[in-house]
């Protein structure tokens, strides 16, 4: 009967009663590797798996050893599963920190069949998802609104941020709130209370659980307080504040990233129980003592029927007492101390529990089968020599271990907080001589409670209250007077340092003593690294090749082992452990990228536009039309060629509203413009425009831009969208300490470029104005009413020939655009996209940002005459390129070489002697329908000095191309010809 029960419950089971956090009326079905299992509401995935006897986890990373659930907290090294979120995406999460929810699906690779009774054939396809899974392909679970966001950010401002919702954190929040400070309290688990919730004790005469519930209720009712569960502080951050990742229960986003800016941070992150280090201390069935009693007290789940305990401190005896009270058998309490007179050991003795003082567990003995769990422990007396006496084998089906407690200080060390070692409590804790530091964001940071080494109930509450008061005070509030409530708890005898239980025979191994389970770090490896000179955890990590920093679960043991080998006091080592590797920043949710659209966007969409992105703007690349009588649609190339021809022969309209536009006004506006333009602009009169290259002082050219003089003190600057941001900051910088103001008016104006010989005829249909060359000469502008709409009309043709630009108020731009097309219908007006606009520019040799203005070219290199004369011989300057094969456009970006073409080959054969460095580069390339051939612009060393030479390049497909270097202007307007253009 008993044996049958044992096998049925192997790996853990649920007791018939008990469990503070679970609701036994609310069953929840969930899945592990496709096997359907049941838990209760309030369970974590870990507690439900323990209760279901499914505690085996993926095998250890380096040695492939079988592993199982080891803890009940965030420090869990083994039970990391692939867990499907509510949207169907898989992520690695510790089962201990995953609240159970209906239909939750967890997957673990590499479980032996013994643990996977229910998987059978169904597992295979499910496990396949590890490699092929795509979150988008998954169907959302039932009951989720389709609009529900997966990720969300919340900016939150508070006076005090308390991290950790145990008794110290609750006390700190209580004190801060009572002082009037806005307070955010975050707890990473699904419940508040921390260790005291299960471990009990009395605070202010009340049971700890009652005290916790009352205080949380009071905080929830306080308007200054905000409380969050399932919210993990990732980093203390900088100017963006602390990053806190909340995983709200449904309904709600899957993850909510809080950017919490606080003046003061209280770190009440508690402590983590350390495992004992002995031979095969990683066997399935070994678990920390506190975790074992948490599962029992909070979830009514037991890890075994006959349990042994191995601990060097009083606190762990509570586990044995609780288990025995629940009717489970205690196989042995193994304590290396000579005998403790503390309250808990005495109570255990009084209950008749078998205490083996002065002894250690020399080895955990596993069942001889794959994934075999612990079935016995070898217990031996620890002699004063450090050697072991004869071992005795005691059978058990679970082993609770406790090596004492370590403050959880990842955030503290991440912020550069100093550490010290406390020889009495054996804790690696914040250096008490420097109780507060400042985060890089400037918030004061102070640890409290167990995180500060104050792990006992009374001191934790007192320390929390004090930290909350001083945080409120530092944030400018008068701290409330609160007296620390009296706490009752067990009297304890001191802990014994035992960092490493030797095996049998003594000191002969170490390769099966695990210091850190998550990384398979053994005692042998730590000692070898220490002998090799490692004196810090970082040096150890580097020597062994650890994937990340060791956490509180294993850092103290590792440091102690290093200290043993190096013969260095632990405190000295601890004080050197400053600013260890920071916790990696969480992946940011994809940044919302606001797209900018012009006022004519809707019209473009309705007229066949193909869009491209230009800076942040959605810009029409070309407008597809039906071509021919059979109603076939053009492709993009055909459309662009048609649009270029139209611009050279008829009239076309470009929506240039994305141009960056700036208004500059003030007595010193003209001087400001002279500073940012390579050509002097101050000589222009009102009503005139100048075209010039914008550059930082002695720096590279940004772009070609237009400056229009409005009046004595006012200017308007138009520049390509691609340099909008750069130009805005350049202008702002230049305006500092100048009597001139700059305003970005990009959005205020729609902007339309009319190009082509018929553009004047079109304008004449919209107004009665005299538009002759005398009234509106090239580079002039006037204010006018076109089609009843007040506009600014500029005589500008960036693509050469006849052209106008019309600045129209943005709110009227669409109406105007439509009027324009009504009026231009019989003139054959058509819209023109960015591709054709760019070809017109190349035909005229105008530099474009990021192509010719490549971040290196200076204004002089691009032909800006006034900026220091001709280009220097060795500098790359703007040239035109005519490919020898007129039908073959040159590849943009291709390197150019002089001579016979051998240089190209040698360059691509990667000879490094410098003789074959490229002469230049193709920057823009297109097919010109005006000329009927391919043309390009490039930057070539020497510039104009090379006109007429032939250069070579590689077409990217292994073929050599030849091109002639020419003047960078391919076409000129010709009044005599019908189509108005002649080649140069």
């Amino acid at each position: 009967m008993r044996a049958e029960r044992m096998s049925k419950h192997e790996g853990g089971f649920r007791l018939e009663s008990g469990g503070l956090l679970i609701d036994r009326d609310k069953p929840i079905a969930f899945f592990l590797n496709g096997e359907s299992l049941l838990g209760w509401r309030g369970d974590t995935l870990a507690s439900a798996l323990l209760a279901a006897g499914r505690t085996l986890t993926p095998p250890s990373p380096r040695y492939g050893r079988p592993r199982a659930l080891y803890t009940a907290g965030a420090e869990e090294p083994n039970a990391i599963y692939q867990i499907e979120d509510r949207r169907g995406a898989l992520a690695r999460r510790p089962a201990t920190m995953t609240p159970l929810r209906p239909g939750l699906k967890a997957f673990a690779a590499g479980l032996p069949a013994a643990n996977a009774g229910g998987i059978r054939g169904r597992a295979a396809p499910l496990l396949d998802r590890f490699s092929v899974f795509s979150p988008k392909a998954a169907t959302p679970s039932e009951g989720m609104s389709h609009d529900e966001g997966a990720e969300e950010e919340l900016n939150f401002f508070t006076d005090v941020l308390v991290i950790g919702g145990g008794v110290a954190g609750i006390a700190a929040a209580k004190a801060a709130v009572a002082s009037g400070a806005r307070t955010l309290l975050v707890e990473q688990a699904a419940h508040f209370g921390g260790r005291a919730l299960g471990d009990g004790g009395k605070i202010g005469g009340r049971r700890a659980q009652t005290w916790i519930e009352k205080e949380i209720e009071a905080l929830k009712a306080a308007p200054e307080a905000t409380l969050r569960r399932c919210a993990e502080a990732l980093t203390l951050g900088d100017v963006d504040g602390a990053l806190i990742l909340e995983r709200p229960a449904a309904p709600g986003p899957l993850r909510r990233l809080w950017r919490a800016r606080a003046q003061r941070v209280v770190l009440a992150t508690g402590a983590v129980e350390r495992p004992m280090v002995f031979v095969d201390n990683d066997l399935p069935g070994v678990m920390t003592a506190a975790a074992m009693r948490d599962y029992l007290t909070l979830y009514g789940a037991a890890a075994g029927q006959r349990i042994a305990l191995f601990a060097n401190n009083d606190d762990a005896y509570l586990t044995a007492i609780r288990l025995a009270e629940a009717g489970l058998e205690i196989a042995a309490i193994v304590d290396p101390r000579a005998g403790s007179e503390g309250d808990l050991p005495r109570r255990a003795a009084a209950m008749g529990l078998p205490i083996r003082s002065g002894s250690v567990v020399a080895r955990a003995v596993g069942a001889p089968r794959p994934g075999g769990r612990i079935e016995a422990v070898e217990i031996a007396a620890l002699r004063r020599s450090g050697r072991l006496g004869a071992a005795e084998t005691v059978s058990c089906d679970a082993l609770a271990v406790s090596g004492g407690w370590s403050p959880a200080l990842a955030l503290w060390t991440g912020a550069g907080g100093p550490l010290a070692f406390d020889d009495t409590t054996l804790m690696l804790k914040p250096d008490p001589s420097q109780a507060e530091i400042e985060t890089s964001g400037g918030a004061g940071l102070a640890p409290a409670g167990a995180a500060a080494g104050a792990a006992r109930l009374a001191e934790a509450v007192a320390s929390g209250l004090a930290a909350g008061r001083s945080a409120a005070k530092a944030a400018g509030f008068t701290p409330a007077r609160l007296t620390a409530p009296k706490a009752e708890e067990a009297r304890e005898e001191p802990i014994l340092p035992l960092w490493f239980a030797p095996g049998q025979p003594a000191f002969s191994e170490g390769e099966r003593h695990f210091v850190d389970l998550a990384s398979d770090l053994t005692v042998e490896e730590v000692e070898r690294a220490a002998r090799g000179g490692a004196e810090s955890l970082d040096a150890l990590g580097a020597a062994v090749g650890l994937p990340g920093p060791l956490g509180a679960f294993s850092a103290t043991q590792a440091l102690a082992l290093i200290g043993d080998v190096r013969n260095a006091p632990l405190d000295a080592l601890a004080r050197r452990e400053r600013s260890r590797s920071r916790a990696p920043a969480p992946p940011r949710p994809p940044l919302f990228q606001p797209e900018r659209i012009t006022p004519m966007q809707g019209w473009h969409e309705a007229h066949g536009a193909v869009f491209a992105k230009e800076a942040d703007w959605r810009t029409p690349l070309c407008f597809l039309r039906q071509s021919g009588p059979d109603g076939e649609m053009e492709d993009e190339e055909e459309a662009s060629v048609r649009e270029i021809r139209l611009a050279r022969r008829g009239v076309g309209a470009v929506d240039a509203s994305s141009l960056a536009k700036f208004l500059i006004r003030g007595p010193e506006a003209a001087r400001l413009l002279d500073e940012v333009f390579a050509e002097p602009m101050s000589g222009l009169g009102a009503g005139r425009c100048g075209v010039g290259v914008i550059a930082r002082e002695d720096g590279p050219a940004l772009a070609e831009a237009v400056a229009a003089r409005l009046d004595d003190q006012g200017w308007r600057v138009y520049a390509p969208a691609a340099v909008g941001e750069a130009l805005a900051s350049l202008l702002r910088e230049s305006a500092v300490d100048r009597r001139a103001y700059v305003a970005d008016v990009t959005d205020v104006w729609g902007h339309i470029a009319l190009v082509g010989p018929k553009s004047r005829a079109l304008l004449e249909r919209l107004c009665e104005l005299d538009l002759s060359d005398e009234a509106l000469p090239p580079l002039g502008w006037i204010d006018a009413a076109l089609a009843g709409c007040p506009v600014r009309l500029l005589r500008l043709a960036q693509g050469g020939g006849l052209g106008y630009e019309i600045a129209v108020p943005a709110s009227a731009a669409l109406s105007f655009w439509r009027r324009l097309f009504e009026a231009g219908e019989t003139l054959g007006l058509q819209p023109i996209g960015a591709a054709a606009r760019d070809a017109l520019r190349i035909e005229r040799g105008r530099p474009a940002p990021q192509q010719e203005a490549d971040g290196k070219a200076r204004p002089a290199d691009l032909g800006a005459a006034a900026s220091g004369g001709a280009a220097e011989a060795d500098r790359w300057a703007l040239v035109g390129l005519e490919p020898e094969d007129a039908d073959q456009p040159l590849p943009e970006g291709a390197a150019l070489f002089p001579g016979d073409g051998g240089g190209v080959l040698r360059y691509f054969l990667a000879s490094a002697d410098g003789a074959d460095q490229p002469l230049g580069r193709v920057t823009s390339s297109c097919w010109s329908p005006t000329l009927g051939r391919a043309i390009a612009l490039g930057l070539v060393a020497g510039g104009a000095a090379r006109f007429g030479e032939t250069v070579h390049l590689h077409d990217g497909d292994g073929r050599l191309m030849r091109s002639r270097v020419v003047r960078p202007r391919f076409v000129e307007p010709d009044e005599q010809k019908d189509d108005g253009w002649r080649p140069l």
């Binding site: 609104s145 609009d147 529900e148 966001g149 969300e152 919340l154 900016n155 939150f156 401002f157 806005r182 955010l184 308007p223 905000t226 969050r228 963006d240 709200p248 309904p251 709600g252 986003p253 909510r256 800016r261 940044l591 919302f592 990228q593 606001p594 797209e595 900018r596 659209i597 006022p599 966007q601 809707g602 019209w603 969409e605 309705a606 007229h607 066949g608 703007w617 509203s657 994305s658 208004l663 006004r665 003030g666 007595p667 010193e668 009597r739 001139a740 103001y741 305003a743 008016v745 990009t746 959005d747 205020v748 104006w749 108020p809 943005a810 709110s811 009227a812 731009a813 669409l814 109406s815």
Partner: protein, 225 residues
């Protein structure tokens, strides 16, 4: 091909007249309520004039006060009827008025500044054409804004009479609580954002105002609970 687009226009054209067109034309109906969290978004019209001048300098402040009432302190807003001032920086304020009066008001401002400091640097420019104005109300309004803006939205830190300039999502905006709430007595914020990004901000508001339940973390949002 253009028909569908013309259909989309009709409603907003009626709302904004034949010439002036909404920044959300064809994208959003004039009034839209976000599902779930209850966010009401209405597009509004205002005349806005950008004023850059040394507003703290003696003479300038007095001249403006005489003509337009006192200029508020930095970060403060002042309204009287359709008119108002948003003081955004030491040397920057936005003047609000009815949209029809924007050119006239701009001319008056220029005159006042020229008289106060002849030949001084000043920039006065109507910018309402470049702005979309969204009035957002509902119980989720503060929390929705907090999702996107690094601004303390606690009512004690940001109440009526105050204005902030910050990116919401990644859209640079100027926003402030209005003194008058919505019909249900809820709070109402006005957001001024670049016209070209209004559709992006609108969509962001809808999704941020809908996603998930309220956290209740920003007190203004507690009203409903």
């Amino acid at each position: 091909m253009g028909e569908r687009f013309e259909d989309q226009l009709s409603e907003t054209e009626k709302a904004f007249g034949a010439r002036r067109r909404s920044a959300l034309e064809g994208i959003a109906p004039p009034r839209r309520r976000a599902d779930g969290a209850g966010l009401d978004i209405v597009e509004a019209e205002r005349g806005v004039i950008l004023l850059r001048a040394p507003l703290g300098e003696s003479g300038v402040a007095e001249a403006l006060q005489a003509a337009f009432g006192p200029t508020p302190e930095i970060g403060r807003a002042r309204f009287s009827g359709p008119d108002g001032w948003l003081r955004l920086a030491d040397d920057e304020a936005w003047s609000l008025c009815e949209v029809e009066r924007v050119d006239e008001n701009a001319a008056n401002l220029r005159d006042a500044l020229e008289k106060a400091a002849p030949g001084g640097a000043a920039l006065v420019e109507p910018i309402s054409d470049g702005l979309a104005i969204l009035q957002v109300s509902g119980p989720a309004v503060r929390e929705t804004l907090a999702k996107g803006a690094a601004v303390d939205l606690h009512p004690a830190a940001f109440g009526a009479g105050e204005v902030r300039r910050a990116a919401i999502g990644a859209v640079r905006a100027v926003f402030y609580p209005l003194e008058e709430g919505d019909a249900d007595g809820g709070e109402r914020f006005e957001i001024l954002c670049p016209r070209s990004q209004a559709p992006a901000l609108y969509r962001w508001l809808l999704s941020a105002g809908t996603a998930g339940v309220l956290t209740g973390a920003i007190p203004g949002a507690r009203r409903e609970a």
